[in-house]
Symmetry: C2
DNA sequence: GCTCATTTTTCAACTAAGTTGCAAAATAAC
DNA sequence: GTTATTTTGCAACTTAGTTGAAAAATGAGC
């Protein structure tokens, strides 16, 4: 998604050392066209080297607390993550019931919807997560509708 | 939430026998002013009798597949459920970062927001889940903001 | 370069939610 | 009452994520 960020600089701004793993996690999230589950991130790194899952969980947890990445809670047991840099303002997501993938609906601004919601919610609302559920085009194609 | 439904009838319509446990689950969800986590449902029933968690998971799973109840995926590891009868059309939810409770924002109609989203999504969208995150009034009161 | 303090990564063990297959119990149909 | 079907329970398992403490890597001061 974002080749535009300087990840070393980003980490520095948050007093985090630019270790190989931290940079790799950011690169992976930055290159992904969609939000990724932890397992996928782990698997990608493990094609190159060995890592302990605890390390990845801790890296993701730290990034999330600092607001560098966003955590997404989709249907199912695994959590997904995506970059939260200025090139990726918050947006709704689409999750496929078949394959479980989580697509970004970047064309839909959350700001607009949030305005409506905030009228009712007041200032207590810190974040809004919108998840649309359905069948993705890829899966639709696999099982064409019977006529 | 809903004392207005005839649960025996509801189960009958779906060819499910009106067993004590199934009715109890519906009553609990119907009486709750908010969505409940599985653990809470289990705990409530266990104040009255002994139950195996598997049974509850199966009852909730069946209800969910039949559209009798709705599953909510909040932050955290436990799933929440709520009645999905005609008295409870889909609506956004508010989840507190402190206590984790999931309140229903019934005053906000999803239909309106869905219209906007559907323009972009086409007919592939089967369901929309909106989750607002923040601090609930109860928890706000416990930790008053420092002036 | 060497020493010490701090940060990062690993390891092993654990927790908690949810699942599976099958047996026991309850219920309905005959 | 006997039998077939549905529901519930039991035990064992899976999977995502967590914990605490040790080992390894790094950085600062010398
Ligand atoms: Mn996204
Ligand atoms: Mn609700
Ligand atoms: Zn799909
Ligand atoms: Zn609260």
């Amino acid at each position: 998604m974002s080749q535009w960020c300087n990840f070393r600089q980003l980490l520095g701004r948050h007093q985090l050392r630019p270790t190989t793993l931290r940079l790799r996690v950011l690169e992976i999230l930055g290159a992904a066209p969609q939000a990724l589950p932890v397992q996928k991130i782990l698997a990608l790194i493990r094609t190159e080297r060995s890592v302990n899952k605890v390390t990845i969980y801790r890296i993701l947890g730290d990034f999330c607390n600092l607001g560098i990445i966003r955590k997404i809670n989709p249907e199912g047991r695994s959590t997904f993550y995506e970059l939260a840099c200025e090139h990726h303002p918050p947006h709704p997501h689409f999750q496929c019931r078949r394959c479980g993938e989580v697509q970004c609906l970047e064309s839909i601004s959350l700001d607009h919807l949030c305005e409506e919601l905030k009228e009712v919610l007041g200032p207590g609302a810190l974040r809004v997560e919108i998840r649309v559920e359905g069948i993705c085009p890829k899966c639709q194609a696999l099982t064409p509708k019977k006529v």
